[in-house]
Symmetry: C2
Subunit: 429 residues, 2 copies
Amino acid sequence: MALRNPISQLYKHASRSSIPKAAATSTRHASSKHSQCQLRSMATVVPPVTQDATSSKGPTAMVFMNMGGPSTTDEVGGFLSRLFADADLIPLGRLQSYIGPLISSRRTPKIKRQYAAIGGGSPIRKWSEYQSSEMCKLLDQISPETAPHKPYVAFRYADPLTEEMYTNLLKDGFGGGKGGRAVAFTQYPQYSCSTTGSSLNELWKWRNRLEGKGATGLDPAGSITWSVIDRWPVHPGLVEAFARNVETQLATYPEESRKDVVLLFSAHSLPMSVVNRGDTYPAEVAATVYAVMQRLGFSNPYRLCWQSQVGPSAWLGAQTSDTVQEYVKKGQTDLILIPIAFTSDHIETLFELDQEVIHEAGHPGVKRAESLNDSRVFIEALADVAVNHLRSGESCSRQMGLRCQGCKSERCLEQKKFFVGQENLLSVR
Amino acid sequence: MALRNPISQLYKHASRSSIPKAAATSTRHASSKHSQCQLRSMATVVPPVTQDATSSKGPTAMVFMNMGGPSTTDEVGGFLSRLFADADLIPLGRLQSYIGPLISSRRTPKIKRQYAAIGGGSPIRKWSEYQSSEMCKLLDQISPETAPHKPYVAFRYADPLTEEMYTNLLKDGFGGGKGGRAVAFTQYPQYSCSTTGSSLNELWKWRNRLEGKGATGLDPAGSITWSVIDRWPVHPGLVEAFARNVETQLATYPEESRKDVVLLFSAHSLPMSVVNRGDTYPAEVAATVYAVMQRLGFSNPYRLCWQSQVGPSAWLGAQTSDTVQEYVKKGQTDLILIPIAFTSDHIETLFELDQEVIHEAGHPGVKRAESLNDSRVFIEALADVAVNHLRSGESCSRQMGLRCQGCKSERCLEQKKFFVGQENLLSVR
């Protein structure tokens, strides 16, 4: 297709740059000390993407979708108001637009204190920008036919929001009559309607607003061709990255008691109403856990538990905090918490696990495996997931096309139709 | 150890026999027509086990544990009364011994009608005896060092009960001062405290009653050495057997619409109180489902749903019957139900799925994948699971040693200690 040529021009003369390895590594330690200064400055570095001479299908925009988090405490209010306005995440019924703001403004001071306690903001933007740009550099090497790969981040509740990302895409020469190819790459390895589904609904909304159907009811020629990496719960590289972080933490226990350390995989919980609607997330999280345990040779006993439940309704358990308390009460005080459904540090690891659950356990044997953050194995895994997707010619998984049995959302239906339908465009590229 | 020799003598001069292949195959069709006559007569055939000359550690008793079912409608009353007396399966609190009989007697007429509707009884005894004896024949070939392998069946709620099985073990020369080796092989591929856990509690109880600690508080010399195959949710042979039955059913749909058939994996549900206590079953069922989908190359969209919920309390969903209804209402009428947590036909497949869920769907596109029953791939998988266990020297998985975080059962604690502790005896064999 000729449509992509104008974009290629944009990058043709740009030279490859990279974040110096040393700088990238130094942030790791900065992060564990909750210093955000270095991280924020790093977050602004987005390497230009080079045009590879052998490229036949590039450039390709690689859009990392995630929930995001406030980078400073000043952003907490806006973050929470978006979060409680999202019926895909927190279904509050018809009164969502009234109740949502009430809850979010009431919770803002408390959540501000939590972000203050982890260094003044969430590191998720820094990690997302680092991971996406590092992955794109790898992709340029292993998939020259779709190079250059340009990294974008689209958060659901914090900057850069989907609207901002899409505006940047258009500004950079994708779509808007010039065609081009973009991949929505969820950074939730396990699919939930309340996470990846919500991000896709938002992406679909902004796509329609910014380059969607005109007065004719037909999509204008030269809009972006989208495809979605919607889940990757047992990718071997992901599993390897998790397993290595578990092994590193296991090695800190005395050898004679090491095999009895309990591995507690912890994932964000879901309301039972969402589970019972048919959300695929609990089963996919379980698949990740099982794959990690297989890789570890079932060396230790383990449990999967669920954290961050809020409000009075029923949520999926067992709850992580209860689990730790109950095991400690039973005398099982060697426990490693493993965040298994998020690919970098965030408030749920740095505050909820580290400063609440582990602190309250009051025992040095209760520890946490490091998050994936700048794990090289993980970044290689991202590139492998991406290249497999790019070569598949699929617009999304077959599973994504199927609505949940209890789904009543028309938006969800239309969104799925749109992304599934992109396959026709991909096949002629 | 000299202790096992007396048992070896029992089988030394027995010749190998087998169920004629033709007879075994013919039962498959009999079963699908719900004819129980042939099956019952087959169920009584237990092949004698031969002593292999190269055997160094045999004989080995292979005990298939399962819930069981009434073989005739006359057995329904006794079956239900045992089922509702089991606090591991249906926790009714302090009044279990009063409420249990009330519920079971009230439900008996209805359940009798259900068993009458599937041909007069459950085929589970027939299939268990067939699968265990066929597996033992294979084991004699692939694990001569632990031959002969003698098949036993121990049901939790129907004949042959654990007590009867244990009495037969002793009568056959295992234990009772003569030592010997037995493997408790759960026929629930995914572990739940309410299924495998309950069977192990029962086995431990009868072991203590029939050859347990005497007045000295020490275990008498020459009691049976036990080990447990407590879970095998993603064994490749199990996965292959499930996948082939799915493929067989998929092939009955027209080629052009085949890839859009929804695969509905259905497993028995659990009360949320059990899930929230830390039961590992939901996550292991999910692991099986994911493994089967990997084997199928994610050829179709799918969901995992949960069946057979009873009573007013909250259970894990989505419910299978709701799921089918909702998809049919959405116009998705090509559905294959796949029983994923049970290894042969039983009332939940033959009645609940076939005669209730599928019948009520009222659409020819709603079908069910066959249960594993006499699948040769499955029987080979059983033998492979068993031989891996026998060679491992493990008394049970490391996972089995860990109590659930919310567990309050002293019996469960003691039972786990007993089976984990058998490892010391295994290491000196």
